[in-house]
């Protein structure tokens, strides 16, 4: 077996709410290598973020609970660590960037103060060292005049700059894994491209692994090595970015790709969309969760959940009863 940086086995996370048990993550398994950029795609509420927060063990408990599974990080199961050991790991080994740059910085402290936090906690730096390092990090993420800017408060930063500052915070201790939870969703398109470029470049220079969670397939195509397509708390297809885009085998992924606007389409062509809504995570259907919306669905799909299968012996895996037929090019 290969040595993974992060290996997840059968992760299940549930939320116990008044309305019922929400099955947010339902047995996710995969491995991530050092220096890999993994894209995680799916609609809102498909368990992308919850699975990332489960890795950080930051699921609010109650109501959330990591029901079962193993999360090996450098061979150590994160779920076996004590609270203190886990805290030492967060920020130092695994760091995270969040979606909304407007609220992810504390308004009462300067940006520099917040970057210094992790340096002081994990690397035991004093104020002066941490201050210098904070300025270095800010200029590393491309903020001009960083020495002055560390003394600014978050409201003096624009959205894109705040997201850069967040990235600087996350990178402060040289983590092995950076989890970026929709870091560009709240930014406008030009800034998005800058952030994607920045992370790509930082990844090449620093060599950390990056998990990029998004619903934007365009970004995935640009940045990721491997892709996990998630639906209703399951991984439905996983493979290299080339496999996912060129040899798409799961109807959901086909639907996602189909709903992207294309430049080479004839003008006036209607944009395709996947009909219906994702299933209620409180009452998941017995069969494939996508069956109700799937144009390829057969009776078997509604009764039995397909397991992830390797296709042609490669790392490209898919959970669909009809992937072989789809591969041969049947139409729905």
């Amino acid at each position: 077996m290969e040595d993974y940086l992060l290996e997840i086995k059968d992760l299940q996370t549930r939320f116990y709410t008044d309305e019922g048990i929400v099955n947010a993550v339902n047995g996710v398994s995969y491995g991530m290598e050092e220096g890999e950029i993994l894209g995680v795609v799916g609609e809102s509420g498909c368990g992308k973020s919850v699975h990332a927060l489960s890795i950080m063990r930051l699921i609010p408990d109650p109501p959330g609970k990591i029901e079962s599974g193993e999360l090996y990080f450098y061979g150590r199961d994160l779920l076996d660590l004590s609270d203190n050991e886990m805290r030492d790991l967060r920020g130092e080994q695994i760091a995270m960037v969040f979606q909304d740059p407007m609220t992810s910085l504390n308004p009462v402290y300067t940006v520099g103060d917040q970057i210094m936090e992790a340096l002081k906690i994990h690397l035991g730096m004093d104020n002066k060292q941490a201050g210098n390092r904070a300025a270095e990090l800010l200029s590393l993420v491309g903020i001009p005049d960083a020495k002055q800017r560390v003394k600014d408060y978050p409201h003096q930063f624009s959205g894109g700059m705040r997201q850069r500052a967040m990235i600087a915070m996350a990178l402060s201790c040289d983590p092995k894994l950076l989890i970026a939870d929709e870091p560009t969703t709240a930014l406008d398109v030009t800034i998005q491209a800058q952030i994607v470029d920045l992370v790509k470049r930082l990844q090449e220079n620093l060599g950390m692994a990056v998990m990029w969670i998004t619903h934007d397939l365009g970004i995935i195509a640009e940045i990721a090595h491997n892709v996990n397509v998630m639906y209703a708390g399951y991984i439905v297809e996983r493979g290299s970015v080339r496999d996912i885009f060129k040899r798409t085998r799961h109807p959901y992924t086909i639907g996602l790709l189909g709903s992207l606007p294309r430049l080479d389409e004839a003008p006036g062509t209607k944009l395709a969309s996947i009909p219906g809504l994702p299933p209620d995570l409180i009452a998941l259907p017995p069969g494939c969760p996508f069956a109700a919306r799937c144009t390829y669905a057969i009776d078997k799909c509604k009764e039995e959940m397909p397991q992830l299968e390797q296709t042609d012996g490669s790392d490209h895996i898919v959970a669909c009863w009809r992937w072989e037929e789809i591969e041969e090019g049947i139409s729905p």
Binding site: P60, G142, I143, K151
Partner: protein, 409 residues
């Protein structure tokens, strides 16, 4: 590592060069607000006069008595009848009302500060912990501590009945065991039965040493305590217990509760402070909890957690500064309320003990003479109460506007 040059990013050059913190911004907004300025002037005059009077203008209420000057009307110059100057007139014992109003201010200020201090400290702490643990959850160490404390508090009752104080310690130990071994007795019914059984042994066993009846009562209590300790107690449990306790205090009308507490503690200015402080606790607890709940939803709290910061650091470094604005506003308004409550208690003869100068007590002493035309004995302390309350309320309103998070980005 490569540096990325600044012109690549297109960050505008017009960014503000000044490093302004939220508090400095709020201060600027405060002093540019006319109402707030008025409030500040009134409050400053009130605070400065009373503080200066207390330290530089000696007054001994015990010896202040002159029947020859009984109920004289205000005079700004010596007259034939009254040789001394009494700008606010004199009261039924011939005491200078101006002097007593100014010195009474010191007592009002003290009551206000101490009462608000008590409410803020206790209520704020409860609210802070309740809100924090409700949304963040307890760490393992905190879960253990919570159960030990619950065991100790609940165990105190049978311990008191049986007259064996170490019984409470045994229940605390049971709580510790329940928390440490929470994974072992996985099935819920067995778990409850197991701990209820041990509770029965601890409660009943020690009770039997005293008398069979005591053993029975303590045994039943022990079963209940054991069952409670076996439950999966978390942050929500802690929060709702604390907040329901606060609701119980709130269920009593404020003045009635204050009067009851003073009746229990005995009259006196200090007892009044404590009573008013206790009555105010739930208000601060609720405000703090709700502010904490909204702050903990912010992504920077999650970001702080993902940086590996511990609970206490998140609580005091990240959450506390962000809930200061509502607490500042409430405390300022609370000072006004406490001054008013102190006056009410004083008026009823439950606050300051005569002859201590206190505005409410002065009113209570003098309203009987209103009919005989001695309006000054009532009006001046009354106006003092009104102005100080108004001043703090205006300042509180101004602070609310200045600190309103909606104005900030």
């Amino acid at each position: 590592m490569t540096e990325i040059s600044s012109d690549e990013i297109g960050v505008a050059d017009f960014a503000v060069r000044e490093h302004r913190s939220l508090w400095i911004d709020a201060w600027r907004r405060l002093i540019s607000n006319r109402t707030a300025r008025l409030g500040m002037v009134v409050v400053s005059i009130f605070v400065l006069t009373t503080v200066f009077a207390h330290f530089f203008w000696e007054y001994d209420p015990r010896t202040d008595l002159d029947y020859s000057l009984k109920l004289k009307s205000p005079n700004l110059f010596p007259t034939e009848e009254v040789a001394s100057i009494h700008p606010f007139g004199t009261d039924k014992l011939g005491r200078d009302i101006f002097r007593r109003v100014v010195h009474g201010g010191w007592n009002s200020l003290r009551v206000g500060l101490v009462a608000v201090g008590i409410s803020l400290l206790i209520g704020g702490l409860f609210g802070l912990l309740a809100g924090f643990y409700e949304s963040i959850g307890l760490s393992r160490a905190e879960k253990i501590l919570l159960r030990v404390v619950i065991g100790l508090i609940l165990g105190a009752l049978p311990a008191w009945i049986a007259g064996q104080f170490y019984q409470a310690l045994l229940f605390a130990a049971l709580g510790l065991a329940a928390a440490v071994f929470d994974k072992f007795l996985a099935g819920k019914p067995t778990r409850v039965a197991f701990f209820a059984g041990i509770g029965l042994l601890i409660g009943g066993g020690l009770g039997l040493l005293v008398a069979p009846a005591v053993g029975l009562v303590c045994g039943v209590l022990g079963i209940a305590i054991g069952a409670v300790l076996s439950l999966p107690l978390g942050g929500t449990f802690f929060s709702s217990t604390v907040m329901r306790g606060m609701d119980i205090i709130l269920a009593f009308p404020g003045y009635l509760l204050a009067i009851a507490i003073v009746a229990f503690l005995g009259p006196g200015l200090e007892k009044g402070m404590i009573a008013i402080g206790i009555v105010g606790i739930p208000v601060y607890a609720r405000i703090t909890r709700s502010s904490v709940l909204s702050v903990t939803q912010k992504e920077y709290i999650l970001a702080a957690q993902s940086t590996g910061e511990g609970h206490s650091r998140i609580l005091f470094r990240h959450i506390f500064p962000n809930i200061l604005s509502p607490l500042t506003v409430q405390s300022t308004m609370g000072l006004a309320g406490a001054i008013l409550s102190a006056a009410a208690l004083g008026f009823l003869g439950l606050g300051a003990i005569p002859p201590t100068p206190e505005w409410g007590a002065m009113l209570g002493d003098s309203y009987k003479y209103l009919a005989s035309g001695a309006w000054w004995a009532v009006v001046f302390p009354g106006v003092a109460i009104m102005l100080s309350v108004l001043g703090f309320n205006l300042l509180g309103d101004g602070l609310r506007d200045a600190l309103d998070p909606k104005i900030q980005t």
